[in-house]
Amino acid sequence: MSRPPSHQSSSVLRRPSSSGARHPLIELTLARFREFLREPEAVFWVFMFPVIMTCALGIAFRTRGAEPVIAGIVEQDGADDLARALESAGGFTVRRIAPDQVDRAVRDGRAPVVIVPGTPPTYRFDQARAESQVARLAVDRALQRAAGRNDAFTAVEQPVQNVGSRYIDWLVPGLLGMNIMSTGLWGVGFSIVQARTKKLLKRLVATPMSKAHYLMSHVFSRLLFLTLEVVVIVGFAWLFFDVKVHGALWSLAGLALLGALSFGGLGLLLASRARTIEAVSGLMNLVMLPMWVLSGVFFASTNFPDAMQPFIRLLPLTALNDALRAIVNEGQALATVATEIAILTTWGLVSFVLSLRLFRWQ
């Protein structure tokens, strides 16, 4: 036979040839990479969406410093004296309330506590609301002191801010997990089904291209993007929200890699038969939606009833999120998340093997 087999040079990736063409695996991976980067929507969903999400949620749930207590004072004789007393105590914002508006002001939160001037003054507040209770205590302390009370002692106050236990610290690993899931599924599934509907798969099969190279190119291009994704999300959260990775960076990298491979396999499975973009989109949403809710992206999965927990814990995104949080927030070693790693590996392997059996090239 005069012609060498096409995939002879697997150890030497660059062929010594003048054609300018590299090893098919590199060319296929490059093609995937370029197609993705030239799709602005895809770039937005993969990189910008998690960043915007982190921003929005980080701002909404930011940890506030000491804020002034809002105190309402009923507009009648003695109101000015009370206002002066509160202002000189400091830490209060005073709102004047019309006499017929007192209950409403407490109810709608305009003033968590309303003081009716008198000797002694009357406090109107909502016992069921912590904010209202705190405001009542603060107002009472300030007015008592203004009336001449001396404290038995002044305690030493040491405010603590626990980095690592804020909502944003908890959220970022979840967003990272969610992103690894959706880019894994979409990145692999969408492009394969698109190639199938455009008969490009069939055209490729009509060349000597190795089918394994084609599937592997999806995995490799996924890994390239994964690196970027993880760096963008973790880097952004670190720079702007001071979210720290407490565990080893290589543990985080290894876990992200495993997650990407696992969801890539799942994406391959979902795409192995689908003939239309609509069909594969439907399948992916069907798979992803329950995990967005159940797997603890935005709120802990422990909120669901105990009976559901064994099922929830077996979901790949739950495993990935739990493991990511153990590494990022708690600084655990990979060994402590062996169960999660086993769950992810199983999902990846089973779907990869199944999709190899089911895959339709034409």
């Binding site: 002879q8 197609e35 030239r38």
Partner: protein, 312 residues
């Protein structure tokens, strides 16, 4: 191995069924090396199914297929490297450039021309760095053919490569194919353009309902009609004259009527036309249109099946 080196493609008794429909019904075919063979026929005749069986993309239910002396069952890997294939509906990736697309296809083959040589062959050099989505229909088809040429194939399969293209784009593509043939390449092309078959093909096979109903050089097939010319005319005011009167005119071999025109196949145009005019004036009928053309493969198909090739 004493294979017949002169034969590029050989199939015998090939059958392909889809449920109760027989798409290819016992097809026998031989294509010689260096030949351009055209498979003609209307939509649904089984051309695409046939070519995809030959390309090893579909499995025949029955029959034997030999391509370049090899068989799909045992030699698929080497065979793939020796063939160039252009499929009817492939859409190449929109957001890759022309050069990137060619480099990708080129990487699948152990040897072949460089990307720049390919660009020259199909005259796409100026579009080297343009995205595929920005190409015209003709340019896309030439790129698709360039992809098929990426492994310097011995045999090129083209499935309706010029469908939907304007005449100039079609001619440009023909030139690419001519150059491929000059280097000794073999082509199997399907088309439903008769002029294309005339211009490109050494031999054509006409398919209908999964069977080969005629085979020969375009000239032989047209000559088999026994009539080299066709007179087409229409009468004003819907004037009707019995077809038998036309059939009796000198030289006329066949009379056919469609919605608007009458078609007379004739071997002796110089006798038929004056006789036709005389007949019409005797019948006091007025012509609204009159034309003649040399008989084509289209006329061969119509005569064989009673139907138009391009059923609109």
């Amino acid at each position: 191995m004493v294979a017949e080196p002169a034969i590029a493609l050989h199939c015998e008794g090939v059958v392909k069924r889809y449920g109760s429909v027989t798409a290819v019904d016992g097809l026998d075919l031989k294509v010689l090396r260096g030949e351009c063979f055209g498979l003609l026929g209307p939509n649904g005749a089984g051309k695409t199914t046939t070519i995809e069986i030959l390309e090893g993309l579909l499995h025949a239910d029955d029959g034997e297929v030999t391509v370049l002396g090899q068989r799909w069952k045992s030699d698929a890997a080497t065979l793939r490297q020796r063939l160039g294939i252009q499929l009817q509906e492939t859409q190449l990736a929109d957001k890759l450039t022309v050069a990137e697309t060619l480099r990708l296809f080129r990487s699948f083959y152990p040897s072949g021309p460089t990307v720049d040589e390919l660009l020259d062959t199909v005259e796409l050099k100026p579009k080297r760095d343009a995205w595929v989505s920005k190409l015209s229909g003709g340019q896309k088809q030439r790129l698709s053919v360039a992809c098929a040429l990426a492994g310097r194939p011995e045999l090129l399969f083209l499935d309706e490569p010029t469908t939907g293209l304007d005449p100039q784009s079609r001619r440009q593509l023909w030139e690419v194919l001519e150059r491929f043939r000059e280097r000794g390449g073999t082509i199997l092309i399907t088309t439903h353009y008769m002029d294309e078959a005339h211009a490109l093909c050494d031999r054509v096979g006409i398919m209908d309902k999964g069977k080969l109903i005629a085979l020969g050089t375009p000239r032989e097939l047209v000559a088999s009609l026994g009539a080299e010319h066709v007179v087409e005319f229409a009468l004003a005011n819907g004037h009707a004259i019995e077809n038998a009167l036309f059939a009796a005119l000198p030289g006329v071999r066949d009379v056919r009527q469609d919605d608007t025109h009458l078609h007379l196949s004739t071997s002796e145009l110089h006798l038929t036309v004056p006789a036709l005019l005389a007949l019409l004036s005797r019948q006091q009928a007025t012509l609204s249109q009159l034309g003649t053309h040399s008989a084509t493969l289209e006329d061969v198909f119509v005569t064989l099946t009673g139907r138009q090739l391009r059923d609109e």
